[in-house]
């Protein structure tokens, strides 16, 4: 049998997919070069807020936010309509994952696809002015975790990011939940694509209840897990080259790898989920389950707890109930949930929120206005730190608690030293240029950019490079 892959390979498709990758020459256009207005010493607390709302301050951003005021900045970030720099769009547009659907991507080696997924996520986190959106992409990528190494899920992950996480990151949770349930990457990762009448697979049914919505103590039973799983039987992925049709009636090629409901694999019969009747039917049984879960008060509690802790650490408790209420009142509007958190006084207070390694790396690059393509030495560093994107096997997403990350300290020190002294493949910094732009000595410029206006290094540095290493390796820089 001729597969699509064979056909494309025969046509030379594989060669065409080899593609181009962004170069440092292009990446250099991403960083500004003109003079930077310095923020006042009063702006230092903004660094913490910017670490939480997004991935940290940049030399330019600090003064800009101080001038416009925090509330105006929150307005801007909630609107999330700042144009991304043309250079960022250009760099990302050069990636294969932006141009090919999942089945066509399968002609590219798996690890290349994973590398590109990681690269795109990292570049946006560093360079997008819509920092809140990228922060929420990080949050929801964990919430709807998919392991790229499971069942070739990496090939469908680009579509998942494009169609599930990114468009809804600051939008409607019910819409995101619906999109996730239909996402081929999720269908593969949590085995729903092999969840069939007669061979019911409970993996997705369990996790949508336990992790995506109600929470483990959210009031469901083992029987509910089974019934939900039965409702989702037949929700699968089109994997037949021609959709099971003859050449004449062949589906458009882009159907392959797309969501497919197969009536013949769907289990017949009425169901009872959370005490409510779901009438006999086809795909709409799953749709009804999603709607039921999305409006459940336990879902509101799960999401409110998780979001409040993500942004407020150990100060979260008083915020949880009001945030849950806003979820229910707004029918799942994510902005409505987080806006009061972002504007709260507590948002800038010490809350024992660790920078996970992704945060640590991205904020170090942002603080120093680094130039990078998001490849080269950055991704191996994230792997050594234990936080490569799309590489968490379990459906609960990378951990957030501090104790999970204490083994990463050596790798953090080594990153600080490598970033400071280089040479690092595909990463460049220049404390001297920062100094010129800020009208400060290079050492003072580093302290300003990494630790804040008016701040001093934790211990005196003999050179700007040493200042970079000490500032990035300092205990203070490890916290969000």
């Amino acid at each position: 049998m001729l597969t699509r892959r064979d056909l494309l390979a025969a046509l030379g498709g594989a060669a065409a997919l080899a593609g181009c990758t962004p170069s440092m020459r292009e990446a250099r256009n991403l960083t500004a070069s003109g003079p930077v207005k310095r923020a006042s010493a009063n702006a230092t607390p903004l660094i913490r807020k910017l670490n939480r709302l997004g991935f940290g301050a940049t030399p330019d951003l600090l003064a800009r936010v101080e001038t416009m005021g925090w509330d105006a900045y929150v307005d801007e970030q909630l609107a999330a309509n700042q144009p991304d720099p043309a250079e960022l769009n250009f760099l990302i547009s050069r990636l294969d994952i932006e141009h090919f659907s999942a089945p066509d991507l399968r002609n590219v080696p798996d690890h290349h696809v994973q590398a590109q997924l990681r690269q795109a996520k990292l570049l946006r986190a560093i360079y997008s002015p819509n920092q809140l959106r990228e922060r929420m992409v990080e949050f929801w990528t964990d919430h709807f975790n998919i392991d790229a190494k499971k069942s070739y899920a990496s090939y469908a992950l680009a579509d998942d990011q494009r169609g599930v996480v990114r468009p809804h990151a600051l939008g409607s949770f019910p819409a995101m939940l619906t999109a996730s349930a239909h996402s081929p990457a999720m269908l593969a990762y949590l085995d729903n694509k092999v969840n069939h009448a007669g061979v019911v697979n409970e993996n997705y049914g369990r996790e949508i209840l336990e992790l995506h919505t109600l929470g483990v103590h959210g009031g469901y039973t083992q029987k509910d897990v089974l019934e939900v799983s039965r409702c989702f039987t037949g929700w699968t992925v089109e994997e037949r080259f021609m959709g099971g049709m003859s050449l004449r009636e062949m589906r458009p090629p882009n159907k392959m790898g797309a969501f497919l409901f197969r009536e013949d694999l769907h289990m017949k019969g009425a169901r009872t989920v959370l005490g409510k009747k779901i009438p006999d039917g086809g795909k709409e049984q799953g749709d009804l389950v999603i709607a039921m879960l999305a409006e459940h008060s336990s879902t509101a509690n799960t999401l409110a707890t998780k979001l409040c802790r993500y942004f407020l650490g150990n100060l979260a408790e008083p915020f949880i109930a009001p945030t849950a209420k806003r979820y229910l009142d707004s029918k799942g509007d994510i902005k409505a949930m987080i806006e009061p958190i972002l504007r709260s006084e507590e948002f800038g207070q010490d809350a024992e929120l660790p920078k996970r390694p992704f945060d640590f790396i991205v904020s170090s690059l942002r603080a120093l206005d680094a130039t990078t393509t998001g490849r080269g030495s950055v991704q191996p560093a994230l792997e050594r730190l234990g936080h490569a994107s799309f590489n968490w096997a379990m459906p609960d997403g990378y951990p957030t608690k501090t104790s999970a990350w204490t083994a990463s300290m050596l790798a953090r020190f080594n990153w600080a030293l490598a970033l400071a002294y280089g040479p690092l493949e595909d990463v460049e910094i220049s404390p001297e240029r920062l100094g010129e732009r800020l009208s400060l000595s290079p050492e003072d410029a580093v302290a300003y950019c990494v630790l804040g206006p008016g701040r001093e290094l934790p211990t005196p540095a003999k050179s700007a490079r040493e200042a970079v290493a000490l500032a990035i390796a300092s205990p203070e820089f490890q916290w969000r």
Partner: protein, 444 residues
């Protein structure tokens, strides 16, 4: 590790993840330069009195009340499918010689083990531990995976589940570490390899190292030396009591400790006894970590090249060479550890055994059940555990493989229960209820 993964060519399945080995460490001993987080916290709790009592008092509060705190699991995975039937050999079974007219190993060439079994002669270096009853064999042992794919079988075993492809729970050792998380240490888990093995997948407290000398500050040229940077960073990480500051403090102390170890001088059992192999170098690093008392808890290592489809040899050649490497490396490791070897459990496993009958190329193809080995002072060693399903035609599975009589998790669960930290076995092995199967002595 860069073992020749010849077996990667033999199976069409994708998804091969670079094999790796993960030893873990957990620190608990104190020296002047090295103090664990727990001791640190305990000391803080004791206040000034604790500090004034000095080192001996610290040593006292550092004693971990749970019985297995000093124990180290050394897990060696033989990748490629080691031939259990030519390793622990059913010397009294005529079916064995019928199935393997060329590859069968004559009883007179084997090392006596029991009425029923003899050992491959390459196991000779480990015979002292067989005779001391510290080395136990579990035969006809394996997983429910019947794909006979290296990758699916390995993933199943390393995830500790029924079916590694369906699993989303990460590695069994990762779950064990998460479930027993009582103190965070910089070297609780280390994999000797370029990436973590699947057994440690999902553990952020695990670290992959090609070799121990990679656990160091990588100071770029022009930036001074490592000692200066350890001192410089120690000034930043001396005061604060939050979790990350303590972790940084411990990491720097561990670096100081490791800097004081001269690997050449630190091989009391004799460096010359270690063969020149990757497994051997890894084990030597593990011995160093154990002696340094940095708190090692689990060490995983790999030994590849077991996929003997062609010309595997009998008492010489490919398979014999592999087995010699394992037995001489492990023997050197135990001798090197000396009395500290009582703190160690060595677990040796492979993803599957091989076909009962030899093939036309004088090799063996992928099978089902294989052999597991447990080397431990408290194990009921010197014998073969587990039911023996037999090699008669109607006793083999339809493809012609030795059937699995003992699930691999039975053995893993026994080791965890007898020798590791108290844990919820249901969390570590979610779809498995261990059978009653005592490979450990009752007094444990």
């Amino acid at each position: 590790m860069s073992q020749p993964h010849d077996w990667t060519y033999c199976d069409g399945h994708g998804g091969l993840e670079a094999s790796a080995v993960a030893p873990k460490t957990q620190e608990r001993q104190e020296t002047e330069v090295f103090r664990t987080r727990r001791q640190f916290i305990t000391t803080l709790g004791l206040g000034a009195a604790g500090l004034m009592m000095g080192r001996s008092a610290l040593a006292q509060v550092a004693i971990n009340p749970d019985r297995t705190s000093n124990h180290v699991l050394v897990s060696i995975f033989l990748r490629g499918g080691a031939d259990g039937l030519n390793w622990v050999i059913p010397v009294e079974d005529s079916n064995y010689y019928r199935l393997r007219p060329n590859l069968g190993i004559a009883k007179r060439d084997t090392l006596a083990l029991s009425d029923q079994f003899g050992l491959h002669p390459a196991m000779a270096p480990l015979m002292p531990w067989v005779r001391n009853q510290q080395l136990a064999f579990i035969h006809a042992c394996g997983s429910p995976d019947a794909t006979r794919s290296h990758f699916e079988a390995m993933r199943t075993m390393e995830y500790g589940v029924d079916d590694g492809q369906a699993g989303t729970g990460g590695g069994w050792l990762a779950r064990y570490l998460a479930d027993t998380e009582s103190e965070s240490t910089p070297l609780r888990a280390v994999a000797f390899g370029s990436v973590l093995p699947d057994s440690l997948r999902g553990s952020t407290s695990a670290m992959a190292l090609q070799a121990l000398d990679q656990f160091k500050l990588e100071v770029p040229s022009g930036a001074g030396n490592e000692r200066e940077w350890i001192e410089r960073l120690s000034r930043l990480y001396g005061q604060d009591k939050d979790e990350l500051s303590l972790a940084g403090h411990e990491t720097l102390n561990l670096l100081k400790t490791l800097r004081t170890i001269d690997p050449e001088a630190d091989t009391p059992g004799g460096a010359g006894n270690y063969p020149d192999s990757e497994l051997s170098r890894g084990l030597r690093d593990v011995a160093t970590l154990i002696r340094a008392d940095v708190g090692l808890e689990v060490a995983c290592l790999d030994r590849g090249a077991w996929d003997t489809h062609v010309a595997q040899g009998t008492t010489t050649g490919w398979f014999t060479g592999n087995l010699m490497d394992v037995s001489t490396s492990v023997a050197a490791f135990l001798n090197d550890l000396g009395p500290r070897s009582k703190d160690v459990t060595i677990l040796i496993q492979t993803e599957f055994g091989r076909r009962a009958s030899e093939n036309a190329q004088l090799g063996t193809d992928h099978g089902l059940a294989g052999v597991m080995m447990v080397l431990d002072h408290q194990v009921q060693g010197g014998k073969v555990h587990g039911k023996w399903p037999g090699l008669k035609p109607d006793e083999l599975d339809p493809v012609g493989d030795l059937r699995v009589a003992t699930d691999y998790r039975t053995v893993l669960a026994e080791v965890v229960k007898a020798r590791m930290r108290p844990t919820n076995l249901k969390a570590v092995f979610p779809d498995f209820s261990p059978e009653v199967f005592d490979i450990y002595r009752k007094s444990v």
